[in-house]
Amino acid sequence: MNRNNFLAVDVGNSWYKALVSDQGETFDYQMPNAIALFDEEFYEKPYDEEDVDLEENLIVEIKSPSIQDRREIFYIGKSAMQQKNVSLTSFNNQKVDEERTYILLFATAAYHALLTNPAEGDLQFTIDQLAVSLPTTQYKEKKNQFKQRLIGNHTVIFHKVPGIREPKEVAVKIQIEDVIVGAEGALAYLALTRDQETLMISDDSLVKDSFKGILIGDLGGDSVDFVGIKKNKPVASVEGEPFGINQFLDHIIQKVSKNEMYSFNSRSELEEKLVAGQSEWYVEPFAGVRKDISKYITPQMRLMAIKYLEHFDRVRSRSIEIKGASRYIAVGGAAEIAEKHIKEAAVKWNERGRPIELLFPENMSQLNVQGLMILAKMQWISKNKEYADDYAYIKS
């Protein structure tokens, strides 16, 4: 397994989170879900290339059967956020049908190859096993289509790479051998109960609780995914809902732009502030002028927390399999941001005599991508049974 490459990508509406296991070494990346069309005419040449950070200057062109228009060049991730014409995800977007998904996913893989191979010239990067996530609402119908569009060969051309001689391009050929798709939320349970390396059960008490039932509410950008776990397996009947933090972020962005004369360049810029904590909740519309924006943030976070708990309550009372669940677990980036507000909103439910005792695990926002890596390794073992004996933790 240490001679192979695994890639796990949590395809989020706000962030792409990736884990790469490259010949046994682990790397992690995150990239804002943002793209913008590149126009040579407006490109500002950097004065000194040594100041340019590759991550802030990712300009890519993708040649792939999954992408119709193969001549467009895009800014992606952080570099896209700095553009006027940046495009963020729309509400309830269909990840499998949108080209941005493939642009960002292939570029993330190629970016890793570029960083780990400082040699000049074109590169080849083989991914023996890719694992990607979909929200529960899109999982069943779209899973196979997603696999088909990802498997195979794709080329990513990086333009304007700092430190590379003219014409400043590097082509990375990506070969994806196999894909497995997991459902958001259920993946978090895998990460909570199993060890990243040995794949063994690492939390017995949680597995024991799952015999009574566990309800996981994964709050993301545009979807809240509820997954019931029973007897250590996901129960399919709990469906995702189109509700997430993005609508609240957009509301805050609009208010701040209208009242404080400051425009956020993307949701992720605001999210970074939210994650950093209340001390960072200000903007500088003009140099040296600080405006407090907590008065726009707090009401929105409260509202989101209340709605999140309402969803939780509705799901737990509606689902027959989960009736009598012994644990409720919050996961996802948005739940991490609003943890304090969710706890405060839970007081209301206590008052009404319908307590929702939520658990907030460590690094909630990373659980899905960690679960994907576990899934990738398992899939690889199952496909390569002849090598399985090489691994200490498999019975021959």
């Binding site: 497995i180 459902a183 390396e197 949680l206 397996k233 996901p234 706890k343 007081v347 206590n350 199952s382």
Partner: protein
Amino acid sequence: MSNVYHDYFKETVLTIPDSFIDIKSGDQHPVSAEIKEEIAYHAENNTLNHLIFSALNHYFHKAAVSQPEGTNGVLSELLEIKRLLAGGSYQRRNGPLSIKKPTGSQEMDLQEIEDLLEAFGG
């Protein structure tokens, strides 16, 4: 003893519940006799809102109360440990990145992997 206290001069009214919920921890507490007594006294004294704001100030800006550095750190550590014990938090063990040879009873077989793949990715 009535349950509603007024301070007409300062337009402050406070109703005392049977029990209240600590908004930070979510625990229920009864209202102690001492608190009731203080509220009664300050309502009489026209300083009810000052009492409330002193209490709020203490609750939200406790950190600002000057204490020797050392004890503060120790106390917050203790609080953290207490919170972990109470909440049963899940901490992922970040063990060494080597594949440990597990003991025989813990071994996974291919069947288990197949079942998990079926359940989580099938």
